[in-house]
């Protein structure tokens, strides 16, 4: 069986449509189960932190959300680049479907970060390197979404968005390093974000389970969005 | 020399044409006819590589133009709807810059001659002060310098021109065809250039 042929067969929106439905259903169920399990571990199994007390439990949402926010941008750029290279409509749709989820996770990471910061640092916002990078990442997501929204022609939207996503992905490491360097120059916030030296195994397990739940959630939601996009496209043709 | 193969074009939600195939040989004149909005401009833009067709391809001497890019660009002149002249520059400056951009080396005397042919003075008056028709003339003056470029694509070349200028343009086109060049132009009115093959774009569903 020729593998490339098979991949392109799945890349056709019409054949992908029912598959996306199945994936969305199973991943959605999986996400719900794992999220329940992760939250249970996070709230009931994991031990109370010696220094921070109960507040630290927000990291079960915060850290996986921050992982996802960065990972989804890379995925988005990957699909966008693929779409640009092979001009497959489905890749552009996937990139577009990932963007709102990525922005959502970025926002959750920022929000939970500031909720955690209030009792821990005594302030909602600290110009910490990671928080600042995360904020800029949110702007990048919003820029991508706004650019796509401003373009009427779907093909142009796909391709223009792809160029932007690729430019963004090249810039993210540069932004991250410059921001963390900037943070060391201005020693305003002397709190470092480094993790507690020894992380309990249950804590780690909780975070991994939550991260998996977020993964499945992202897949499920983007599949639903892709289905919408496919329907819209076939509506245009008919 | 130029072949269009099974071209489809969809703009926004509307299919303009489907499965359009034709060829252009040297010394041939082709007129694209059709009502407003039938896709004449889109077809021309596809042919010169500004727009990629929804399906199908355009080949220049057997090679798809998408792969040739500037190599193909050097073989063509495209004059679009917009006159592509800068308001702040004089007609002569505009013309010599346009030619440089296209990769043509032209002398100042040649520029003056080309402008004179279209009845434009080669002075420093910025194009801003010229009338709409004179601007078109300034844009078309490029044709009289483009004799050695094989393929001409002209979008509505006769719009906003008086009878005089139409005459000069028709003469230039006829000369180019006689020289063995290919010309494709669009118009929605009939014009008196003889021997043109017509591609009619209907309103495809």
């Amino acid at each position: 069986m020729n593998a490339t042929v098979k991949w392109f067969w799945y890349a056709s929106p019409q054949t992908f449509f029912p598959l996306a439905g199945t994936i969305a259903r199973w991943c959605g169920i999986g996400a719900a189960v794992l999220a329940g399990l992760g939250l249970y571990i996070g709230f009931f199994v994991a031990p109370t932190d010696a220094q921070q007390g109960e507040v630290y439990r927000i990291i079960f949402i915060h850290v996986p959300a921050a992982w996802m926010s960065m990972f989804l941008y890379v995925m988005m750029a990957f699909w966008a680049a693929l779409g640009l290279a092979f001009s497959t409509r489905l890749s552009g749709m996937l990139a577009a479907a990932l963007a709102p989820t990525g922005a959502l996770f970025t926002f959750i990471a920022l929000w939970t970060g500031s909720l955690w910061g209030k009792p821990t640092w005594g302030t909602y916002w600290v110009w910490d390197a990671r928080l600042t990078s995360e904020l800029i990442l949110l702007f990048l997501y919003l820029g991508f979404i706004a650019l796509r929204a401003a373009i009427d022609d779907p093909r142009r939207a796909d391709r223009a968005g792809a160029v932007l996503a690729i430019v963004g992905v090249v810039n993210i490491p540069i932004i991250y390093y410059s921001v963390s360097w900037w943070n060391t120059l201005h020693q305003g916030a002397s709190v470092s974000f480094t993790k507690a030296p020894s992380m309990a195994a249950t804590m780690f397990a909780g975070m991994i389970v939550m991260a998996l739940a977020f993964w499945l959630y992202s897949i499920a939601v983007s599949m639903v969005r892709v289905r919408c996009a496919i329907r819209e496209m076939s509506g245009e043709r008919g | 020399m130029l072949e269009a193969i099974e071209l489809d074009c969809t703009r926004g939600r509307r299919a303009l044409f489907r499965g359009l195939s034709f060829g252009l040989r040297g010394g041939e004149l082709l007129r694209v006819a059709g009502a407003n909005g039938s896709g004449k401009t889109s077809l021309l833009r596809i042919l010169c590589g500004l727009l990629s067709p929804t399906a199908g391809e355009v080949r220049w001497q057997g090679t798809p133009v998408a792969r040739l890019r500037e190599e193909f660009s050097r073989q063509l002149v495209y004059l679009g709807h917009a006159p592509a002249v800068k308001d702040e520059l004089s007609a002569a400056e505009n013309l010599s810059i346009a030619c440089t951009l296209a990769g043509l080396a032209v002398s100042e005397a040649a520029v003056r001659e080309a402008l004179a042919r279209f009845g434009l003075p080669a002075n420093d008056v910025p194009v801003r002060r010229l009338s709409q028709g004179q601007r078109r003339r300034a844009a078309l003056a490029r044709l009289s310098l483009s004799g050695q470029i094989p393929c001409w694509f002209l979008d509505e070349p006769f719009a906003a021109l008086d009878a005089d200028a139409v005459g000069i343009t028709e003469e230039l086109i006829a000369q180019h065809v006689a020289r063995g060049g290919g010309v494709i132009y669009t118009t929605h009115q009939d014009t008196g250039i003889g021997g043109a093959r017509v591609i009619a774009l209907g309103t495809a569903a």
């Binding site: 401003a150 932007l164 932004i175 | 500037e70 308001d87």
Partner: protein
């Protein structure tokens, strides 16, 4: 091509002057909002000058391709005999000469307003000299992407400003390093590296974006 854009700018002098004036006004507003405490002004000067430079470069970027797009010249550039990457690089260079270089020239004036010590002028000019071309190059990608869209101006700033962050940090940071008595060499080298990277990569992104926008 560079010659053409410079010629156009020369015929439309007021545009260049507006961007420059904008830079000066933005920089002059900060003391009015914050107060004229000299030590405070000295400490915010590098940041203010750099933020004003970002905004003023953004202001002129909107017109980078828009005029050529409107009158059809951009189509001619796409069909030009030279590779599009070279043409857009030339346009970005022209934009820098028109919008970036004057900022470098006028920045000492702002520095004077902010009572910046004289030994910082050199690094201020050098950082602007290295950083503003990067702004032109990155900004041109945004300008090409938003070409012909509704609300292009606001969208352009949303797309481009986050990408300007490293230049801002390195540019303002290098001045602060010198102010703190440290050598700025490393940061200026990083800024130069950004410039080299942007020069190598941005033209292709701009060209790709323009082709997409012209369809």
């Amino acid at each position: 091509m560079v010659y053409r854009d410079l010629l156009l700018a020369l015929r439309r002098r007021s545009d260049v002057a507006t961007a420059l004036l904008f830079f000066v006004i933005v920089a002059s507003l900060f003391p009015l909002g914050i107060g004229a405490e000299p030590s405070l002004l000295r400490s915010i000067a590098p940041g203010v000058i750099w933020v004003a430079a970002l905004l003023s470069s953004l202001l002129s970027l909107g017109r980078l391709f828009a005029n050529d797009y409107a009158d059809g010249t951009l189509e001619q550039m796409l069909l030009g005999g030279a590779p599009l990457g070279v043409i857009v690089a030339a346009k970005a260079l022209a934009h820098w000469l028109i919008a970036g270089l004057p900022l470098v020239a006028i920045a000492p004036l702002i520095a004077l307003q902010y009572d910046l010590p004289a030994h910082l002028y050199g690094v201020l000019a050098l950082s602007l000299l290295l950083g503003t071309p990067v702004l032109s190059l990155i900004g041109a990608i945004g300008a090409a992407l938003t070409l012909g869209l509704r609300g292009a101006g606001v969208l352009l700033s949303l797309l481009v400003l986050p990408l300007y962050v490293p230049v801002l940090i390195l540019g303002a940071g290098s001045i602060e390093m010198v102010a703190a008595g440290l050598p700025p060499g490393g940061l200026l080298l990083l800024l130069a590296a950004l410039l080299v990277g942007a020069t190598a990569l941005a033209p292709w992104a701009i060209a790709a974006a323009l082709r997409i926008s012209m369809e």
